[in-house]
């Protein structure tokens, strides 16, 4: 007993499968069915050929790029329409790239390190009259001397 799958397809049904046929999206059995039909139907043979050319032509269309200023224009439009309220509060990290901040912080740390390392006082304060260690008073006792 013939199943619905065994029943031969009508011309319209096969013609409706031409797009899938051109894309190679049919099963082997279905593709064979369409090919057999194309052999005997010049209308569908022509349609299949032209469909293939149409799909190829469409695929050859270059993708059109958005203008370079597009992201800025969109951001400006949002800002203008929302009176600057739409985007979240801009932190320092939004205004200045975080990478740059990291480099500056590292450079400052290195400078500080070399300054401290080269310092005679072990601090950033240089020797000077106002910074000399006060003399030990003679009256003070050495706590280690009995």
């Amino acid at each position: 007993m013939a199943t619905p799958e065994d029943k031969p397809k009508s011309h319209d049904e096969l013609e409706a499968m031409l797009s899938d046929y051109v894309e190679g999206a049919l099963s082997e059995a279905e593709a064979a069915e369409v090919e057999a039909h194309i052999q005997s139907c010049s209308e569908c043979a022509e349609a299949a050929s032209e469909l293939g050319k149409t799909v190829s032509a469409l695929a050859s269309l270059n993708r059109v790029a958005a203008p370079d200023e597009f992201p800025n224009e969109v951001a400006e439009t949002i800002r203008r329409r929302s009176a600057g309220r739409f985007f979240g509060k801009r932190t320092l990290g939004d205004r200045v790239p975080l990478e740059l901040l990291a480099i500056v912080a590292l450079a400052l740390a290195l400078i500080l390190y070399f300054l401290l390392r080269g310092s005679e006082t072990g601090s950033l304060k240089p020797f000077g009259p106002e910074h000399q260690r006060p003399p030990i008073p003679e009256s003070s006792q050495d706590i280690l001397t009995p």
């Binding site: 799909v55 270059n62 958005a66 203008p67 439009t77 949002i78």
Partner: protein
């Protein structure tokens, strides 16, 4: 959805401007190409593409994350394009015939991002540009529902699965509608092939 995309969406919900710019940079050409191919006009395409990103950013909280961000963007773009086409069709001084007449040569503007087609001879190059115009005009002659499918499948080369997610149509409907669109295009392009 990838972890990177989930993170981006979280930042977008926090109204992070940098996240917004990242999203625009990543998807700008995809959105613009769809709007241009749907509307056939650079000015309209740019205007609608802007509105798409504004809509996406404003309604990011409504994005459930059950699809890729690109799928959602395409869906919003398709809806905006259809609305714009209806709006333009209603305008007395800008009917659809004029819209197909005003299609531009995208390749002549020097902003194509596709791989350049090898055309050493001037006459061959002209044929390429002329063919693009003919194709664009043919696409513009389709109704919106057919046009979007041709652009998504045959130009953007999306899978049927993704097209179904974007258009919210069953695969059978997508395929039959696409087939009718291609058959219509084939007739218009016959004499040029």
């Amino acid at each position: 959805m990838s972890l990177k995309e989930a993170r981006l969406i979280r930042r977008l919900r926090e109204r992070d401007e940098r996240a917004f710019r990242e999203m625009v940079e990543e998807h700008r050409d995809r959105v613009y190409n769809l709007t241009f191919r749907m509307l056939g006009n650079r000015e309209e395409a740019e205007d609608v593409a802007q509105e798409v990103f504004i809509t996406v950013f404003k309604s990011i909280d409504a994005f459930r994350g059950d699809a890729k961000l690109s799928t959602w963007l395409y869906r919003v773009t398709a809806n905006h394009c259809k609305n714009r086409i209806k709006y333009l069709a209603r305008r007395q001084d800008r009917n659809r015939a004029e819209l197909t007449e005003r299609t531009e040569l995208s390749s002549s503007s020097g902003t194509s991002t596709g791989a350049p087609k090898p055309s050493p001879r001037p006459d061959v190059q002209l044929q390429g540009a002329e063919m693009e115009q003919i194709l664009q005009r043919a696409i513009a002659s389709l109704d919106d529902d057919q046009r979007i499918l041709v652009v998504l499948r045959d130009i953007e080369e999306l899978s049927y699965e993704e097209i179904c997610a974007i258009t919210e149509l069953p695969e059978g409907t997508v395929k039959s509608r696409l087939h009718r669109a291609r058959m219509a295009l084939r007739k218009k392009l016959l004499k040029h092939m």
